[in-house]
Amino acid sequence: MSFEFGAMKLGIKEALAWKFSLMLWIVISIVSIGAYYLLWSAIYGLSGQSLIAGYSFRELMTYFVMSEIVQTLTWNNVIMDLSQKIRRGSLITQLVRPVEFLHFDFWQHIGNRVMQFWIYCAPMVLVGVLLFGLKFTGWANLLLFTITAVLAVVLNFVLSALVGLGAFWMTEYHGIRWVYMGFHSIFSGFVFPLTFFPQFWQKIFSFLPFQYTIFVPIQTYAGKYGLLSVLGNMLIQLAWIIVLMIAITLIWRRAMKQFSAAGG
């Protein structure tokens, strides 16, 4: 476990190096959610509907605040990091270490996220409550949300790592990253709650892993699911994590057989 703690400490130091940027992100989020706040108050005012796509105005604002928080918690730089190390050949220095590269990267990432939680997410909750009416939905929902959010962090990490492994076969990898990020921001529910989409699309999203990284944790916090559904979603998250980890192991083995570093 000391190795994992060491990696986490490195991640914490990494996050601290960017603390001012993270604090600036609080301002960015306030602007972003503030614009939504004004826009949606006009929309709710005009429509006279108390619920739009199943959300009251306050619930929608809670969604937007939580999507910023969950996005920050689950975000990672694995695709970029992995592709750069492969392209520049510096992966070789990681491979000769007596620890598995992705294992180390994962714990470093966890340390980074823990720090991000304190620098960005905790103040953001306060901002959400004071400025945008972030709703507290109860301790039980908070507990269930915490579990799904942790699973979402792991799921997004393995998902990104799997995409990043493609860099073993492509010299330039920005394109794949862009496509992935574009799809992820729409399909995960980061841009908009997925309930705004037609039923057909919601059905398609449910077969993909993306919504379990942002939308499902937020809906869990909002108390939109019954206990059985929440447990079912957790099992689906776990199943996705296992499937993706198996895929990563297989692809990694295959990649190692043909990997040749050009630098180092």
Binding site: F20, S21, L38, S47, V179, F192
Partner: protein, 262 residues
């Protein structure tokens, strides 16, 4: 000017050649950028299929805003976005001295060597949305309205260009300024929506202080024929004033620049 154009053309050709070295990557990036580009129109669709929409704005009018915003920000980023990143990176590394001794004004050189082909996707999204929505708006298009809208669209490009210059200028003053790109562009995103939705104070701020209303709202208003000539001139002056402020900040930054190496 001819010398600048020649340099820009040569640099753009080099950029194209370097992108074509990895064709698949270029096309994937293009596809990825299209995915990001459709988020604006998608939001419009989702808002209007689930509610009555934004007061005073039909679906088509709102869609026009997203198209105009994409076109203006895409065009500006095509010509000036790399300049911002290059400047920040060079200042951070202490390498900007090289650009100061070139036989061209630093800002002119920075803009001549700044072409971002990735922005073609955003431009394409903007043009496609405008082309799709224009016939549906049922506007009686007068030549004067089209000219006014094009003029304000140009001013929208000037606004975004000024924004990129300001961010780059901050690099000379504060060195680590990558986060400012996100901050400014996040604020600029509010220009995708009708600025009237932000209330009277919001509208005034977004017209006179941080004139992001120029990005889409005012070009659309000009097309609808609701702006007077005096208003169009006033808005053009605001955009040019913003550019003058950006250039002044840049010049101030250059004077403050301290090399870390070279």
């Amino acid at each position: 000017m001819l010398r600048w154009l020649r340099l820009w053309k040569n640099w753009a050709s080099l950029e194209l050649a370097s992108q074509m070295a990895y064709k698949w990557n270029f096309f994937l990036k293009f596809f990825g950028a299209i995915t990001f580009g459709v988020i604006g129109p998608l939001i419009a669709i989702l808002i209007y299929t689930n509610s009555k929409g934004i007061p005073g704005w039909s679906f088509e009018q709102f869609l026009l805003l997203t198209g105009l915003f994409s076109l203006a920000s895409g065009l500006s980023a095509f010509f000036s976005m790399p300049m911002t990143f290059h400047t920040i990176e060079k200042v951070r590394e202490g390498d900007y001295d090289v650009d100061l001794v070139r036989p061209m004004r630093p800002l002119s050189y920075a803009l001549a060597t700044s072409t971002d082909l990735d922005q073609l996707a955003e431009i394409l999204v903007g043009i496609s949305v405008i082309a799709y929505v224009m016939p549906k708006l049922g506007l009686q298009l007068a030549a004067a309205n089209i000219a006014a809208s094009l003029l304000l669209l140009l001013m929208a490009v000037v606004f975004f260009l000024s924004l990129n210059i300001i961010i780059a200028a901050f690099a000379f003053l504060f060195v680590k300024t990558y986060a400012l790109i996100d901050l400014f562009y996040e604020v600029a995103k509010v220009g995708k929506n009708p600025i009237t939705a932000y209330g009277k104070t919001g509208s005034l701020l977004l017209t006179y202080v941080f004139p992001v209303g120029l990005a889409a709202f005012y070009p659309a208003q000009a097309l609808f024929g609701v702006l007077s000539l005096a208003e169009i001139l006033k808005l053009s002056l605001i955009a040019l004033g913003f550019l003058a402020f950006a250039i002044t900040l840049w010049e101030l930054g250059i004077r403050k620049y301290q090399s870390a190496g070279g």
